[in-house]
C-alpha cells in the first residue's frame, strides 16, 4: 500500500509527461487526477490506521549509495508525523489536480502541467516518507526542481523565468546549510539514518567543535545548519524573497506548492528532527525569534500590497512564521496542527483567488476589482470562509491552531516566549486587517476595472468550485475535529508516539483567561475596522500613507530586501566574475603566462639571431672577449 501511495503520482507523471501527446489532454488530466486521488485515499486509510492502531512501518524499496561507511536506502517510513504530511500533501494535491482541469482549460500545454504537478507530489512524498537525511535531501531538491518548473511554466514571460531561477537559487542557499548539517551529522555519527542518529544524540551533548576559531557545541551547530535549510524552503526572513516572486506561476501551483506543501517542508524538517532540536535551547530560541520576526514582517508587507496573490503569499510567509515559533517554543505538535489547518484554508484562499483571477481574465490587482460579490457568489462565500479561518475567527480551524500557538508561547515562560506571544497577538490583528482588506477591495465597494465590463464577469466552472468547497469544509471543521488528536496533552504520547520527542512534557497549565480571549476579540473587532477603512472612509488609509511616506514606501518595497540583495549579491558577483575574466584571466594570467612567455622567447631569439651577423670582425671580437673572460676566470680562481 505504501509503495502504491508513493509511486502512483510518479506513474501518473510519466504517463502524462511522455505520452501526453498520444493520449490527449483530457486523458492526461483524468489519469493524473485519478492516480493522485487514489494516493489521497490510501493516505487517508493510513492516517486512520495510525490514529486507531498506532500503525508504524518502514518499507525499504532499494539501496542507494554505499560508499565506505555511508549506507543509504530508498525507503518509505510511515509514522504519525509522516502520515499527517501524507494526508495534507495528497489531499491538497488531488484537489489541485482537479481544479487545474478547469483553471488551465485555455492553456496549450496541459499534459506537461499535469505531469509537473504529479511529479511534484511524488517528490514531496519521498521527502516526507524518508527514513534518512539523504533521501530527505533528494525530495527536498526534487520539490525545489518541480517548483522551478512550475513557476517558470509560462516560459515566455521573462518575469516568470527570473522568478523561477530566483526560487531555485535562493533555495540553494538554504540547501547549503542543510547539506552542511547532513555532513556534520554524518561526520559525528557515521550514519544519516534518522533512528540511528536520534539514538546517539544524547552522547554528544557536551561535545565542542571549533568553527572559524569559535567554540560551539556540536549539537547547536547541527541544528543551526539544518534550520538554515528550513528557512530557505519555508521562506523565512532573509531567505523569503523568492516566495512572493514565485506567484508568477499558475495559481493552482501557488496553492499546492507555495501554500500547503513544499513551503511547509521546513517546518516538517524541524519537527522531524525534534529529537535533535530538543537538546539545543539556543537554536530553539533562534527559531522562535526568526519565526516571530517573519510573522510580523510578512504581515506588515501584506498590508500594502495590491497584487491579490502577493498578499496571500506574504500571508503564507507570515503563517509559516507562526509554525516556526510554535516549534521554537517546543510545541511541535501545535506547529504540525497549524500546518495541517493552514493547508486547508490557505489552499482555499489561493484557489479562490485563482477563481477571481480567472473571472477577471488574468487581472491580479485588487484596485482593479470590486463590487463583484453578486457576480461570484460562490467564490465570495468560499473566500470569506477562508478568511475567517485564516484570521482565527472563533470555532473555525485557524482559531484552534493559532490561539494554541500563542498560548503555548506564553506558557513557555521565558523572554522569547512572552515576546513571541505578544508579537503573535499583534500579528493576528494585522492578519485580520489585511485579509479583510483583500475581501472588501475585491468583492465590495465600487467596480474599478476599465478593461472589461462587470456584465462579463462569470462564476468559475463547477470543476473549479468543487475542490474549493471540499477545502472550505476542511477549513471550517479541521480545527474542531482534530484538535484533541493533535494538541491535547494525551496526544503528545498517544498519537505522536516516537515521531516527536518532548524532552520535558509540554506545560499543561491553563493560560490566563485574558490571553485566551484577547486574540479572538481583536479579530472580531478588526472586521468592522477594516470595513470602515476600506469601504466607508477610503480616504483615511490614503491620507495615512501620504503623511507617512517613508514608512509606506518601506512597506511597499518589502523592507527593501530585494534591492539590498541585488546590490550585495547579484551585482557584486557579476562584477567580480567580469573582473576575474577580463582582468585576471586575460590581462594577468594570459599576458604574463603563455602569451608573455611566448613573446619573451620570440624577443630573445630575435636578439640572439642578431649575433649571427656574418661579419668576421664581430665574430673575432666575440672570440677575444670570450677568451679574456675565460682567462680572467682561470687566473682569479
Amino acid at each position: 500500500m505504501e509503495i502504491a501511495l508513493l509511486f502512483l503520482p510518479l506513474i501518473a507523471s510519466i504517463t502524462s509527461g511522455f505520452f501526453g501527446k498520444f493520449i490527449g489532454d483530457r486523458s492526461s488530466e483524468i489519469i493524473t487526477s485519478f492516480f493522485v486521488s487514489i494516493s489521497a485515499l490510501l493516505s487517508l486509510i493510513l492516517f486512520y490506521q495510525v490514529i486507531v492502531n498506532n500503525y508504524e512501518n518502514n518499507v525499504v524499496v532499494a539501496s542507494w549509495i554505499n560508499s565506505g561507511s555511508l549506507n543509504v536506502n530508498w525507503s518509505i517510513k510511515v509514522d504519525a508525523l509522516s502520515s499527517v504530511m501524507l494526508v495534507v500533501v495528497t489531499l491538497v494535491s488531488a484537489l489541485v489536480h482537479i481544479y487545474s482541469i478547469g483553471y488551465m482549460s485555455h492553456d496549450p500545454h496541459k499534459p506537461r502541467f499535469m505531469a509537473y504537478l504529479s511529479l511534484f507530489t511524488f517528490a514531496m512524498l519521498t521527502l516526507v516518507t524518508s527514513d534518512n537525511f539523504l533521501q530527505l535531501f533528494f525530495g527536498w531538491e526534487g520539490v525545489g526542481l518541480c517548483s522551478y518548473f512550475l513557476i517558470g511554466f509560462w516560459f515566455k514571460k521573462d518575469s516568470a523565468n527570473a522568478a523561477a531561477i530566483k526560487a531555485f537559487v535562493v533555495n540553494r542557499v538554504g540547501d547549503f546549510g542543510l547539506v552542511l548539517g547532513i555532513f556534520l551529522i554524518f561526520h559525528l555519527f557515521g550514519t544519516v539514518n534518522y533512528s540511528e542518529v536520534f539514538q546517539q544524540i544524547p552522547q554528544i551533548i557536551d561535545k565542542d567543535l571549533l568553527f572559524l576559531g569559535i567554540h560551539i557545541e556540536a549539537i547547536d551547530l547541527i541544528c543551526i545548519l539544518l534550520f538554515i535549510g528550513a528557512m530557505g524552503k519555508s521562506a523565512q526572513i532573509f531567505l523569503h524573497t523568492w516566495l512572493p516572486d514565485a506567484m508568477e506561476g499558475p495559481t493552482p501551483v501557488s496553492a499546492l506548492i507555495h501554500a500547503a506543501t513544499m513551503v511547509t517542508a521546513g517546518v516538517f524538517l524541524v519537527v522531524r528532527c525534534s529529537p535533535i532540536f530538543e537538546y539545543s535551547p539556543l537554536t530553539l530560541n533562534i527559531i522562535t525569534v526568526v519565526g516571530m520576526t517573519t510573522a510580523f514582517f510578512a504581515a506588515t508587507v501584506a498590508l500594502v500590497q495590491t497584487d491579490i496573490k502577493k498578499i496571500i503569499a506574504y500571508s503564507t510567509c507570515s503563517q509559516l512564521g507562526y509554525m516556526f515559533f510554535a516549534a521554537g517554543v517546543g510545541a511541535y505538535n501545535v506547529a504540525m496542527f497549524h500546518l495541517f489547518t493552514h493547508a486547508f484554508f490557505k489552499a482555499l484562499l489561493f484557489l479562490g483567488s485563482g477563481s477571481i483571477i480567472h473571472s477577471f481574465k488574468d487581472e491580479q490587482n485588487i484596485n482593479q476589482m470590486g463590487a463583484v460579490y453578486k457576480k461570484l457568489p460562490y467564490t465570495w462565500i468560499l473566500m470569506i470562509v477562508g478568511t475567517l479561518a485564516l484570521t482565527g475567527f472563533p470555532f473555525l480551524s485557524g482559531f484552534y491552531s493559532k490561539d494554541a500557538i500563542i498560548e503555548f508561547a506564553y506558557l513557555k515562560g521565558n523572554t522569547a516566549g512572552y515576546y513571541a506571544a505578544g508579537v503573535g497577538v499583534f500579528t493576528a490583528l494585522l492578519t485580520s486587517i489585511y485579509s479583510w482588506r483583500l475581501i472588501f477591495k475585491t468583492f465590495h465597494g465600487t467596480y474599478n476595472n476599465n478593461k472589461m465590463k462587470i456584465e462579463e464577469i462569470h462564476e468559475s466552472p463547477i470543476v473549479m468550485l468543487v475542490p474549493l468547497i471540499l477545502l472550505a469544509i476542511g477549513a471550517i471543521f479541521a480545527g474542531f475535529l482534530f484538535k484533541d488528536l493533535f494538541i491535547s496533552h494525551e496526544s503528545a504520547n498517544h498519537f505522536w508516539g516516537d515521531s516527536i520527542k518532548f524532552l520535558k512534557p509540554l506545560n499543561s497549565d491553563h493560560p490566563p483567561l485574558w490571553i485566551i480571549l484577547i486574540t479572538p476579540t481583536l479579530v472580531l473587532l478588526s472586521i468592522p475596522v477594516a470595513y470602515y477603512l476600506f469601504i466607508k472612509n477610503k480616504e483615511l488609509p490614503n491620507q495615512f500613507s501620504q503623511s507617512n511616506r517613508p514608512l509606506y514606501n518601506f512597506l511597499v518595497n518589502k523592507w527593501y530586501f530585494d534591492e539590498l540583495y541585488n546590490i550585495v549579491f547579484i551585482q557584486s558577483s557579476k562584477k567580480i566574475g567580469l573582473f576575474f575574466w577580463k582582468t585576471v584571466d586575460i590581462k594577468i594570467i594570459d599576458k604574463f603566462g603563455p602569451d608573455g612567455v611566448s613573446s619573451l622567447i620570440k624577443n630573445l631569439s630575435l636578439r640572439a639571431s642578431k649575433f649571427q651577423s656574418g661579419f668576421i670582425y664581430q665574430y673575432a671580437f666575440m672570440i677575444l672577449i670570450g677568451l679574456s673572460a675565460l682567462l680572467t676566470f682561470l687566473i682569479l680562481y
Binding site: 565506505g68 537559487v169 547539506v179
Partner: protein, 497 residues
C-alpha cells in the same frame, strides 16, 4: 595470461585508423562506418573486460609484461578498479563522437576520424599503462591528435588556440619527464607496481611531486593554469571538445590518484593545503567567470574548471568518500560535459553561432532538445537523482571529514553552479523567440537523439543507482588509502627516530 585483451583494446582503434589511411575508397560515409564499427567493437570488448574484472581485489589484473628496451623499460599494462572505469568511459564516448561528426566536420572527414581513433588508442593506453615511461608516451602522444583536431578543424582562432593548448601542456609535461628519468636513477625501475612497494626517499619526494603536479595541474586544469581550456574548447570542433572535456581532462585526475598519492604520499600530505586552496579558487573563480560568459562553449569550459576543482579537492581529502566521489565526479563530468558540448554543437550546426544572445525561446521550435538540455543542465548543477549529485556530494562529504572550512567554501560553488547553469538555460531556451532565423531550425534528428539519450540514460541511472561504479572502485580505493596511510606512518616513525 592468455589473450592480450588490453593490448587489443589499445591497438584496435589504431588498426582501424591504418585501414582508413590506406583505403582507396574516398567515400566519407564508408570511412565513418569503418570508424564507428571499430570503436563500437572496442566498446563491446571493454564492457566484456569490465564483466571479467574482479572488483574484490585491488591488485592489478590482465597484466601484460613484454620487454621493450632491455633493462630499462618494459611494455607493461594492467588495470585495477580505478582504471577500468576510465577505459569504459573512453570507449563509450568515442563512438558517440564519431556519430556526431555527421554535421560538424565538412572537410577531410577521413582524416578527422583517423585522428579520433588514434586518440582513443592513446587514451586507453594512458589508463592502463603500468610503467612510467609507457604512461608518459601515451600521455604526451595524446597531444598530437588533439593539436591537429583543433588546428585543422577548429574555428577562426584555431591556430592560436592549438598552439596555446600544445605548448602549455607540453611545458608542464617536460618536467614530468625529468621526474620520471630521475625516478629511474633513484629507484632503478619505472615499473609502477615495483615502485608502489618500495617507498621513495623522502628528500626527493617533494621535487618529484611538484614535477608531476606541474603536468597534471595544467591538464586538469587547475587555477591558474586553466586559460588554455576555454580557448581550446571554443575553437575545437564539437567532437574535439567532447573528447577534450570528457576524457583528456580525466587523465590528470587519474594521474593524481595513481602517481601523486601512490608514489609520493609524504609529499602529497605536505602539499594538500596547496591543492585545497587551488581547488577552492578554481571552484569559486571559475563559477563566477562562467556566470558572465556570453559564449556558450566558454561558459561550459569554465564550468569544467569548477567541476574539476571538486575532483582535485576530493582526491586530496584521502578519504574513502572523497576519492570515490572524485572518481564518480570525473565519470559523471565525462558524460555531462560531453552532453553539454554536444548540445551546444546541435544548435551551432543550425545557427553557426555560439553566442548566447543569438538564441532565446528555442523551446517552442526544439522541444525535444530542450528536455535533454534541461536534464544535462540539472546534472551539471548536481541535482539529486543525477550522477552529478553523487560525485559532488561524496567529495564534499569527504572534504568535510578532513576540513570543515574547506567544505563550507566548496559548497558555495554549488550555489553558483545553479546560478550560471540555470541562467544559461533560461537565456538559450526560455523567453520569447526574438531571432526570426530560429523559427526555421529543426528539432533533433535521429542521430542527435540517439547520442544525447545514450548519455542521458547513464546520467540518470547512476544518479539513482551508483552501485556499479562504487562496487568497482571500492576495494582499489580502500587499499590505496591504506597504502598511503601506511607509508605516512612509516615516515613519521622514521622522523621520530
Amino acid at each position: 595470461m592468455n589473450f592480450p585483451i588490453l593490448s587489443s583494446l589499445i591497438l584496435l582503434p589504431t588498426i582501424g585508423a591504418l585501414f582508413l589511411l590506406f583505403s582507396k575508397d574516398k567515400n566519407s560515409n564508408t570511412a565513418k562506418y569503418v570508424a564507428l564499427f571499430t570503436s563500437f567493437i572496442n566498446f563491446l570488448i571493454s564492457i566484456y573486460l569490465w564483466y571479467l574484472f574482479d572488483p574484490s581485489t585491488s591488485s592489478f589484473q590482465f597484466i601484460e609484461d613484454r620487454i621493450w628496451l632491455e633493462g630499462f623499460v618494459n611494455y607493461k599494462v594492467g588495470i585495477d578498479g580505478i582504471s577500468i572505469l576510465f577505459i569504459v568511459l573512453t570507449t563509450f564516448i568515442t563512438p558517440l563522437c564519431i556519430i556526431s561528426v555527421n554535421n560538424t566536420v565538412k572537410v577531410r572527414l577521413r582524416h578527422f576520424l583517423i585522428a579520433i581513433l588514434i586518440m582513443e588508442s592513446l587514451m586507453i593506453g594512458v589508463f592502463c599503462s603500468l610503467d612510467l615511461v609507457v604512461f608518459y608516451l601515451f600521455f604526451e602522444a595524446g597531444l598530437i591528435p588533439m593539436f591537429l583536431i583543433i588546428g585543422i578543424w577548429g574555428g577562426t582562432r584555431r591556430v592560436y588556440s592549438a598552439f596555446k593548448f600544445f605548448l602549455y601542456t607540453l611545458v608542464g609535461s617536460v618536467l614530468m619527464l625529468v621526474a620520471i628519468i630521475s625516478i629511474y636513477w633513484i629507484a632503478g625501475t619505472t615499473d609502477i607496481i615495483q615502485l608502489y612497494e618500495l617507498s621513495l626517499d623522502i628528500k626527493y619526494q617533494n621535487l618529484l611531486w611538484l614535477a608531476f603536479f606541474s603536468s597534471f595541474a595544467v591538464k586538469t586544469p587547475m587555477w591558474p593554469f586553466h586559460t588554455w581550456l576555454p580557448d581550446a574548447h571554443v575553437e575545437a570542433p564539437t567532437a574535439g571538445s567532447v573528447l577534450l572535456a570528457a576524457i583528456l581532462l580525466k587523465m590528470a585526475g587519474y594521474g593524481f590518484i595513481r602517481f601523486s598519492l601512490g608514489l609520493f604520499p609524504v609529499a602529497s600530505e605536505l602539499f594538500t593545503p596547496l591543492i585545497y586552496i587551488l581547488s577552492l579558487i578554481a571552484i569559486l573563480y571559475a563559477s563566477l567567470v562562467a556566470l558572465m560568459q556570453e559564449d556558450m562553449k566558454k561558459l561550459i569550459a569554465y564550468s569544467s574548471v569548477a567541476h574539476m576543482g571538486f575532483v582535485t579537492l576530493g582526491i586530496f581529502t584521502i578519504t574513502q568518500q572523497g576519492i570515490e566521489g572524485s572518481i564518480i565526479q570525473m565519470i559523471s563530468h565525462g558524460l555531462v560535459s560531453a552532453a553539454l558540448f554536444l548540445c551546444v554543437g546541435v544548435v551551432y550546426d543550425r545557427m553557426h553561432s555560439r553566442l548566447i544572445n543569438t538564441y532565446g525561446g528555442i523551446v517552442s521550435v526544439m522541444p525535444k532538445y530542450s528536455i535533454l538540455f534541461m536534464l544535462f543542465t540539472l546534472a551539471a548543477l548536481g541535482l539529486p537523482g543525477t550522477s552529478g549529485f553523487i560525485g559532488e556530494f561524496l567529495v564534499l562529504m569527504g572534504a568535510f571529514k578532513d576540513n570543515f572550512l574547506v567544505a563550507v567554501i566548496a559548497s558555495l560553488g554549488v550555489i553558483l553552479g545553479a546560478a550560471y547553469m540555470l541562467w544559461l538555460y533560461r537565456r538559450v531556451v526560455f523567453g520569447n523567440l526574438v531571432n526570426k532565423d530560429l523559427l526555421k531550425i529543426p528539432d533533433l534528428d535521429n542521430s542527435e537523439k540517439f547520442i544525447l539519450w545514450s548519455l542521458a540514460i547513464p546520467v540518470l541511472f547512476l544518479g539513482f543507482y551508483p552501485e556499479p561504479l562504487i562496487n568497482t572502485i571500492e576495494v582499489s580505493v580502500k587499499d590505496l588509502i591504506e597504502m598511503y596511510n601506511f607509508n605516512l606512518n612509516m615516515y613519521s616513525q622514521e622522523v621520530k627516530k
